[in-house]
Structure formats: structure tokens, C-alpha cells
Amino acid sequence: MSVAPADAAILHVDLDAFYASVEQHADPSLVGRPVVVGGLGARGVVAAASYEARRFGIQSAMPMARARRACPDAVFLAPRFDAYQDASRAVMAILHSYTPLVEPISLDEAFLDARGARRLHGTGADIGMAIRARVRSDTGLVASVGVATTKMLAKIASDLAKPDGMLTVTPGTELDFLHPLDVSRLWGVGPATRRRLDRLAVRTIADLAALPEPALQRALGHAHGAHLHALAHNIDERGVEPDRQAKSIGHEETFPTDVTDRARLDRDLTRFAERVATRLRAHATVARTVQIKARYADFRTVTRSRTLREPTDLADDLARVGRELLAELPLGDGLRLLGLSAHQLLAVAELQPALPFDDDDPGAGSRRADLERTIDDVRRRFGDEAVGRAARSAPPRGKPA
């Protein structure tokens, strides 16, 4: 049995074509024109496309070169993350004015549990309409909203409501709503699972629901099978978690040309580590695990991770582990993308420092921490390029790179 709330008051709020909409709002001359935001170099990838651009078949994650061919007259812009962050904060503040139970999923997406807000603000659908109106009037952005009894249904409803729409799944009609949909609407059904389900002649969620759980578990594995079986019967017991912390903090870059030069990749990792460490410190967080991600020329993508003895928020530590992990990785025909991320995050307040055993210089750790905090401070005041590490700079001229 599902423990879903009896009334539809779980909301999924999703901003339409978020980056592109922010740009259109910032520059009214772009309104009504196809706008594409993303990497503008030869190897760039589309991060967001306005609905005008989508009409030309442009989608996020598409290579920028293809987008340019599809619609040469579109406006192509490099992303401005600061502006998106500001816009996101403004929208999240609106959501918080209805209920404290807001779970942000990304900059442009959040769940709300509005059950406690209904006395003040009306039904879930009333609140959804009010949010859409306020987002539009206060920020100029367009939010689509799904309203349902569970998170999964609310998310599917907002997807179906796009663009610029709202869809409410009336309690009692959840399965009527869910079952005709394609299985790929379910969380956890990607292309691989889709193919396996196809072999079982499962195309709609109704097909999936009709399959006995053991059969599904044999086809997909025990946990995954059980999970999808539950979702197909609309059993989704996850609540809205307002305090959900970021699970990881990372930085990755796609290179203009494939890179085989290890020294260059090491310098990139050092630079990524500084960015990640600065963000860790800004969130008063430390990480226990460091992961690198590498994408080869043939798009094969691998990750490697290592867990540290002591959690850290220092670029030095992240970079050292990142370089060790990279050293164990063959480069093949070169990398087109490299990333470094910090996982298993802990709040600094929960951090228990170790006793100063003499196997390491007891002052060394805190001196490195002081140095990095000073760098944060200098950068805040004078900009990112004001100070950097020697290892980040290119080797001196005259020496082979």
C-alpha cells in the first residue's frame, strides 16, 4: 500500500528553458528569438535552448556544432552561472514563502510539500497557480508545475505540463494517469532498462504493472526490479526533504581538442581542485571521497574514486588524489573531457579532528588550511585570477610542454 497523502499537495516546480529564459529576460531583444546557451567552442555542448530554438530540433546535451547547423540564425550565448544562480535564489525564495518544505533538486527544479500550507493558501492546485503567477511577475521566468500525491507523479505531471502549464493528478486517479504512459517516464528507466523491458514486451507503465515482481527482478536484478515494480503501482514513499544536502561538488571541462599531455591534465586537475575546494569551504563542508571523470575521444566515460583517511576541504589534498587517480588511467587517443568531484560530504561542524600524532608535522595541516583560506579571501576581493598556484601555470617557454 502506498502511504501517499490523501490530498494532492506535493508540487514539482520546474522552470522552462531556464538558462535561455534568464537570458531572454535580461535582454528583451532576445524575446521570441531562438536562444541557445552552452559552450561556444568547437567542442561545446548545448546547456539550454529556448522553446523557439527547440522548434529547430535543438536540445540540451547536443553538440553545439549541430545546433548551429540546425538553426544558424539563433542567438548563441556562453552561460553566465552567476545570473542563473541569482535567478534561482529568487524563485526558491518565492517557493519558501508558501512552505518551508522545499527540496531543491537543481537550480531550476524543486519539490514542495504543501500539505501544511493549505489552510493559508488553498489546495495544492491553488498553490501551484499562485506560484506560477508570482514567478512570472517577480522574475519574468516561466514555471511549469505538477501537482500530485507523490513526488514521482508530480514530476511526471510537470514534464507533461510543459511548456508554461500546470497539471494536477486528482487523488484516486493516479493509476489511470500513470498506466497509459511510456515506461521511460519512470525514474530509473534509462535506455538500457528500456531495451530490456522491450524484450519483455513492456512498453507502457500498465504493461510493467501487469508483470509479476519476481519476473521483473529476474530481468533487471533484485533491487531495481522491486523498485520499478513499486513505482509502476505508484508506491513512492519518499517524502520531500528540505535539508537534502548536495551529494557532491565537482567541476569538469570539455577540451577544444583531445588531450594526451599528462602534465597539462595534471595542471587542469589542480585548477579544478581549487574551484571545488573553494566551494566546499563556502558551504562549510568537507569531503571524504575524491572522484575523477574522464571521457575519451570515442565518448567512452570512466570514473575513478578514492576515499581519504581524513575528510578535507583543501585543494592540495583533492588535487593530489585526483592526479594519483589520473596516473593510473590510460589516456588512449586522448581525453575530450576531464572532471574532478568531491563526494561523501560532511558538515565541518560534524568534523572531528585527529589527535596530533607525530608521524606528521602537527602544524602542517592547519598551515595549509590557513593558506587556502587566505587565497579564498584574496580572490573574493581581487578576483579569481589575482592569485594562483605555480603548478597551475603553463611550464616556462623553451621547455617542452
Binding site: 535539508d243 561542524a349 572531528q352 600524532f357 607525530d358
Partner: protein, 367 residues
């Protein structure tokens, strides 16, 4: 072959040997079993995870000699649910029949030939008082690390002193040291590292009175008690140099009743909710005494003053609340002393009346 034994006797023996049975058997499935060795007039039960082996002998009416391995968990659960009275076990080719009252069971046995060779006590036995050893282990063992990634810290250092032994354990966040004068367990200048898991089992087995015989070998140590023998493999490696961590004197000294402090810590830390074990608790120490406080983001704060005597400069220091409670528990005495240097350096907990135990605790950074 078969044997007959009282349920109460057998249940205790199974429970004791079961404590050494591997929770994850990995490459050696037979380690999920208990080895039963039938000998004239007694049955020996053996559980082992290779690091730790516990052997228990119980009197029984035995017919025939030999060995069999029974699934340990099943046997342990069964024993705890059988009514008092006789239990009869008959061992066949590849199954065992267990009967008690009207209960009957036939269960598949594991291959006894796969069971690892049993460790035999090595070296010359030394008899020492069991009670003080148990008390020392109770104080020190909880401070050892449970992280298998740091094998050395999962061990307890047992080192010879001028007049006895010293037990030391640390998980790198706190360190517990107990001196046991008169307990001449080791030859002069010797020290060994013994896994904390094994010592924690030993501590449960040790009686408050009487003696335990200790056999120290090259690679293992055996503790022999009446009818029970525990063998632990020694941990290899060098224990970190802990002596330099303990300063000779501290400028700040708080004297407080242990139970009053522990009760207050338990109340104040509740605000930390599910994270209360790791949530920091602040100790504000001044001439007025001690005030505890804890803050949990988005939840609230708690405070409580605790009567205490303080000599030193006004100081606020924060500790992981569970580590602090562990220290209070281990110190044992009704009145204890917390000595500190500053909010970033390790503080010491010790009894106000004896100096044979100390608990060093690293403070938590406070924002």
C-alpha cells in the same frame, strides 16, 4: 557418533563460541559454522573468523568420537529457543539430527575437513588476575578504531612497564591509557598489539575473581580460562607514538561529578536529533563553573549549567558528545578532572583520585 547435553549448558557454550564466528565468511564458507569435536565425556565447540578463535568445552554423554560443523547461526538461534532439558545430537554422514523434548530437526552439516587448523597455545603460560585485566580492557578497548582500513588502530597495545603492563588504544580521535601494576603479563621491554574485537570478547569472558592463563606466541596470544580458550592473532605493525601527545601539565583544570556531567550531556545533546552522537557539545568553563550547550541548525539550542570547580583561564571547548560520554564512562570514578590547554589541543579526562587511567580527547572545531 552422538552426544547428549543439558540445553542450558550447551546454549551458553554455543553462544560463547558463536561470538568468534565470522559475520562475513568470504572465501571460506565453513567459517559460518561451529566445529563440534566429540571426545570422551565432553564436546568442544569452536568458532573462528581466523583472527579470533574461541573454544569451549562442555561435559556431555558422548558416544563415538569425531568432528562435525553445524551452521552456527541456526544452532545459536535454536539453543536460545529450546526449553530446558536434554538436547540430543546425532551426527551422520552429511547431516545432523537434533532432538529436544518433542522438537526434531535434521540439518545439513558443513565439511569438517574444511575447518581451519585449530591454533594451539604457544609458549609458556603466565597466570594473572582476571578482574583487574577485565576492568582495564573495559576502559581501553572502546577507544580502539573499528575501521578495518587502519588495521594498526584496531589493535590494543599491551606493553610491559616497570611493574606490570600498560594498555593503550586509539582511533586517532581519542586515546585511552590504563596502567595495570602487578600484572606481569609480558617479559621486560616487550609489547604486542592485540585486536580490539578479540579483547572485547575476552573481557566478557573474564570472571571478576580468579586467574587467567596467558600464552604469548610469535603470531598469536591465547587466554585460557576454565573450560574456555580464546586465541587472537597479533596485529602486525608499529603503534603510533602516543607518549608525546600527553603533556606533563595543563594550565586549566575542571573538577566535576561524573554522573551529573554525563546526565547533563545526555540531555543537552538531544537537540542534535539523529546526529546527536557526532554533534558537538560545548563546555564553557569559568570561575562560575561549567555550562554545557549544543546547537543544531534548524532545530534549536540547549543549555545546562553543571556544578564544577574550575582553576584556569576562561575557556570554551567543544567535543563530539559520544566521545565525551565514552570517556566519562571509561574513567569510572565518581569525581573526575578535565584538563585542557586551549580549544584546539587535546584535553585529558582522568579520575580525581587515581592516576592509572587517562583519556585524551581531541576537541571539535567550533565555528
Amino acid at each position: 557418533m552422538k552426544f547428549r547435553c543439558e540445553r542450558d549448558t550447551l546454549a551458553d557454550a554455543v553462544a560463547t563460541a558463536y561470538r568468534a564466528v565470522a559475520s562475513r565468511t568470504g572465501a571460506l564458507p565453513v567459517l559460518a559454522g561451529l566445529l563440534l569435536r566429540l571426545q570422551p565425556n565432553e564436546v568442544e565447540l569452536v568458532g573462528s573468523d581466523l583472527e579470533l578463535t574461541i573454544r569451549v568445552r562442555v561435559p556431555a554423554e558422548v558416544d563415538g568420537v569425531g568432528s562435525a560443523v553445524l551452521v552456527a547461526r541456526l544452532l545459536q538461534e535454536l539453543m536460545s529457543r529450546l526449553a530446558a532439558g536434554a538436547v540430543r545430537v546425532e551426527i551422520g554422514e552429511d547431516q545432523a539430527k537434533i532432538e529436544a523434548g518433542r522438537f526434531r530437526s535434521e540439518v545439513r552439516t558443513l565439511a569438517a575437513s574444511d575447518f581451519p587448523r585449530l591454533p594451539e597455545a604457544e609458549g609458556e603460560g603466565v597466570k594473572v588476575a582476571a578482574g583487574p585485566l577485565a576492568q582495564g580492557l573495559r576502559q581501553v578497548v572502546p577507544a580502539a578504531s573499528k575501521d578495518d582500513a587502519r588495521p594498526i588502530l584496531t589493535g590494543v597495545l599491551i606493553a610491559a612497564t616497570a611493574d606490570g603492563v600498560r594498555l593503550v588504544a586509539t582511533d586517532s580521535y581519542r586515546l585511552a591509557v590504563r596502567d595495570l601494576p602487578g600484572l606481569n603479563l609480558l617479559g621486560e621491554g616487550r609489547s604486542v598489539l592485540v585486536g580490539a574485537k578479540g579483547l572485547s570478547e575476552l573481557q566478557r569472558l573474564l570472571p571478576t575473581e580468579g586467574e587467567v592463563e596467558v600464552f604469548l606466541g610469535e603470531r598469536q596470544v591465547t587466554f585460557r580460562l576454565d573450560g574456555t580458550e580464546l586465541t587472537a592473532r597479533l596485529v602486525e605493525g608499529e603503534f603510533p607514538n602516543y607518549q608525546q601527545l600527553v603533556p606533563s601539565g595543563y594550565p586549566n583544570r575542571l573538577t566535576v561529578q561524573r554522573d551529573a556531567l554525563a546526565d547533563a550531556v545526555n540531555r543537552v545533546r538531544l537537540v542534535g536529533g539523529q546526529n546527536r552522537d557526532s554533534s558537538p557539545i560545548r563546555l564553557a568553563m569559568s570561575a562560575e563553573g561549567l555550562e554545557l550547550s549544543a546547537t543544531a541548525q534548524d532545530v534549536g539550542q540547549s543549555y545546562e549549567p553543571v556544578e564544577a570547580k574550575y582553576e584556569g583561564t576562561e575557556l570554551t571547548v567543544a567535543f563530539n558528545s559520544q566521545f565525551l560520554l565514552d570517556g566519562l564512562e571509561a574513567t569510572g570514578s565518581s569525581e573526575l578532572v578535565i584538563e585542557s590547554v586551549d580549544p584546539l589541543k587535546p584535553a585529558v579526562l582522568r579520575a580525581s583520585d587515581t592516576s592509572d587511567f587517562l583519556y585524551l580527547l581531541m576537541p571539535v572545531r567550533i565555528a
